[in-house]
Amino acid sequence: MNGTVLSDSLIMLRRSLRRMRRYPSLTFFIAGIPVVLMLLFVYVFGSTLGAGLPGPSAVEGGLDAYIAYVVPGILLITVAGAAQGTAISVAMDMTAGIIARFRTMAIARASVLTGHVLGALIQTMLATLLVLVIAVVIGFRPSTGPVEWLAAAGLLALTAVAISWLSVGLGLHAESVETASNTPMFLLLLPFLSSGFVPAESMAGPLAWFAEHQPFTPIIETLRGLLMGTPIGDSGVIAVAWCVVLSVTGYVWSLRLYERVPATAAQA
C-alpha cells in the first residue's frame, strides 16, 4: 500500500509531463535562447573567431570551423538554460501549498523532487535535440558514429541530471518564485567562461585558470571529442566525475531543504 520510490516518482513525472504538454511553449523557449546565441556567435563573430582557432581546420574557412567548434558549447547552454524552468516550477510548488499536502501523505520522500528532475531531463533532451537540428541546418557536420552519438547523448543526459538536481535545490531554497527565476542565471554564464566559445588558454590569466578547472570545460571538451573527433584525453573521466559529484550534492541538498518547513508554513 505504501508506494515505492520508483512508482511514486513515475506518478510525479506524469504530473511534470502533463504540465509540459499543456505549456509546450516552455520547451521552445528553452531552445530559443541557445538558438539565438548560436546564430549570433556563428554569423556575427564566427568568421573572426573561427580564423583565430588553433589547428588546420581554421585555414579552410573561419565560419565552418567555428560552427564545428561552438555547437557543443551551445548544447551545454541549452542544458544550463533549462535550470531556470526547473527552479521556477519547484518554487511554484512550494509557494502553492501543494508540497505541504505531499509531505503529509505517505509517499516516498524523494519522489516529488525526482519527478521534477525526470521531467526536466526529458524536457532538456527535447530542447537539445531541437537546437541540434537547427545546428545541422546551418552547417554543423558531426563526423561521428552511432556509439559516439550514444555516448554524447549520455553525457548530455548526465549533465542535465546534475544541473536539474542543483536547480531543484535552488528552487527549494528560494523564498519566492522571482528569486527562483534569478538564481540559476549564473549557470547560463558559466559556459561562456569555459572552452565553449573560445579556447580556455586564449583567455586572460586568472580567467584561463578558472575556465580550465570549472566543470563545463571537461564536459564540452568530451562532447566536442565525441561529435567532432578531437582528442578527449582525461576530460571524459573528469566530466563524468563532475556530473556525479554535482548530482549527489544537489540531491542531498534538495532533500534536506525539502524536509525543512516551508517558509509559508512557519507563519501564524
Binding site: M1, N2, G3, R14, G97, I98, A100, R101, A265, A268
Partner: protein, 322 residues
C-alpha cells in the same frame, strides 16, 4: 508506545512545546481527542493553532512533548501517521494549473487506487462536492469556495481516519460556509475524527464535541461547549417596562438589587438560566404584583463569555464574526 494509549484516543498530546527562535509559540499543550469526534482548537490569530496542526500532521518537528496521532508517535512513526491523516490547510493545496479532475486523479494515483477504482472515486468525489460541471476547468479559474471544496475532496481521496482542517471556513461566503459545516458533520457521522481550528466561537459551538481554547500558546480551557459555558455565570433575562413606576414595582416584587437596575432605559437584568420553569415563576411573581412587561429578552452564556472571563479580554480578532 501503544500501551499507554486507550483505543478511544485519536489524538493525544502531552506537554507539546515549540518555539521559532526566541518566540515561544506553544507552551506546554495537552490535548485529548476521542475517536470519531469533532474537536476545535479555538483562539485568536497568533495563538499557535496552525503551528499545532503542522506538528500533528508531521510537517513540523516539536521541541518537546509526547504526541500520538492514531496511536503513533508523530516524530518516530511519521509515515504511519501519514497513512491515517488528511490535511486541508489555510494555504490552498491544489495544483492551480491542472483541472479539478486532474488534481483528484493525481491523489488517486498516489493512493494507488488503480485505474478503475481511481476513476470511480474521482467521479464520486466530484459529485459529492458539486464540482462535476467544472471538473474539466483549471483550478486557477475556481472561486474560493470551489477551491476549498476541491482541496477537501483531495484530502478525502485516501479515506483518512483523522482529518485536520486549518480554519476551514475563513474567507468563505455564508453559503459555502454552510456547505463546509454540513460536510464536516457528515464526516463525523461516518466515524472520522476531525480536528479543526477556528477563530469563530459560533463555529466551534456548532460543530465541536470538544473544544480547547488556545491563547498565547497555552490551553486556557478544555471541555465540551456545555462544560466551558458552565465556567462562567449562567445567562440572564432582561425585562423592559413602560414607565418608572412599573420598574419600581417589579424591582420590589422580584427583590432585585440596585446593580441589576437600568433606570435610564427602564430595564431590569436578572440572572436566570432562561428555562421554561424559571421564566414561568418569574412571570407569576410579576402578575401577582400587577406589572406589565413591555419587552423581554433571554440571553444564555456563550463561548464569548468564556473567552472573556478566561483571558480578560474579548477575542482579539479583527475579522468580523460570521
Amino acid at each position: 508506545m501503544t500501551t499507554q494509549t486507550p483505543k478511544t484516543s485519536a489524538i493525544k498530546v502531552r506537554g507539546l512545546r515549540k518555539s521559532f527562535g526566541k518566540r515561544l509559540v506553544l507552551d506546554g499543550i495537552d490535548l485529548d481527542v476521542p475517536e470519531g469526534t469533532v474537536f476545535a482548537l479555538l483562539g485568536p490569530n497568533g495563538a499557535g493553532k496552525t503551528t499545532a496542526i503542522h506538528i500533528l500532521t508531521t510537517l513540523l518537528a516539536p521541541d518537546a512533548g509526547e504526541i500520538l496521532v492514531g496511536g503513533h508517535d508523530v516524530v518516530r512513526r511519521a509515515d504511519a501517521v501519514r497513512r491515517l491523516i488528511g490535511l486541508t490547510g489555510q494555504v490552498s493545496a491544489v495544483d492551480a494549473q491542472f483541472t479539478g479532475e486532474e488534481n483528484l486523479r493525481l491523489m488517486a494515483d498516489l493512493h494507488h487506487l488503480g485505474r478503475d477504482g481511481g476513476r470511480a472515486r474521482v467521479t464520486e468525489l466530484l459529485e459529492r462536492f458539486d464540482l462535476i460541471d467544472d471538473a474539466g476547468k483549471p483550478a486557477a479559474t475556481y472561486s474560493g469556495g470551489m477551491r476549498r471544496r476541491l482541496d477537501l475532496a483531495m484530502t478525502l481521496m485516501g479515506d483518512p481516519r483523522i482529518i485536520f482542517l486549518d480554519e476551514p471556513t475563513t474567507g468563505l461566503d455564508p453559503r459555502s460556509r454552510r456547505v463546509m459545516w454540513d460536510t464536516i458533520r457528515d464526516l463525523a457521522a461516518g466515524g472520522t475524527t476531525i480536528l479543526l481550528t477556528t477563530q469563530y466561537l459560533e463555529e466551534a459551538d456548532r460543530l465541536a464535541n470538544g473544544i480547547a481554547m488556545l491563547d498565547g500558546g497555552r490551553v486556557v480551557a478544555q471541555g465540551t461547549p456545555g462544560e466551558l459555558k458552565r465556567l462562567v455565570p449562567g445567562g440572564n433575562v432582561r425585562l423592559e417596562f413602560g414607565d418608572a413606576a412599573g420598574l419600581e414595582r417589579a424591582a420590589l416584587a422580584l427583590g432585585a438589587d440596585l446593580a441589576s437596575r437600568d433606570d435610564a432605559s427602564l430595564a431590569l437584568e436578572l440572572p436566570n438560566e432562561g428555562g421554561v420553569h424559571a421564566l414561568r415563576e418569574l412571570f407569576q411573581r410579576l402578575d401577582t404584583a400587577g406589572v406589565e412587561v413591555e419587552a423581554l429578552s433571554v440571553r444564555s452564556a456563550d463561548l464569548d463569555d468564556v473567552f472573556l472571563s478566561l483571558t480578560g479580554r474579548r477575542d482579539g480578532q479583527e475579522v468580523p464574526t460570521p
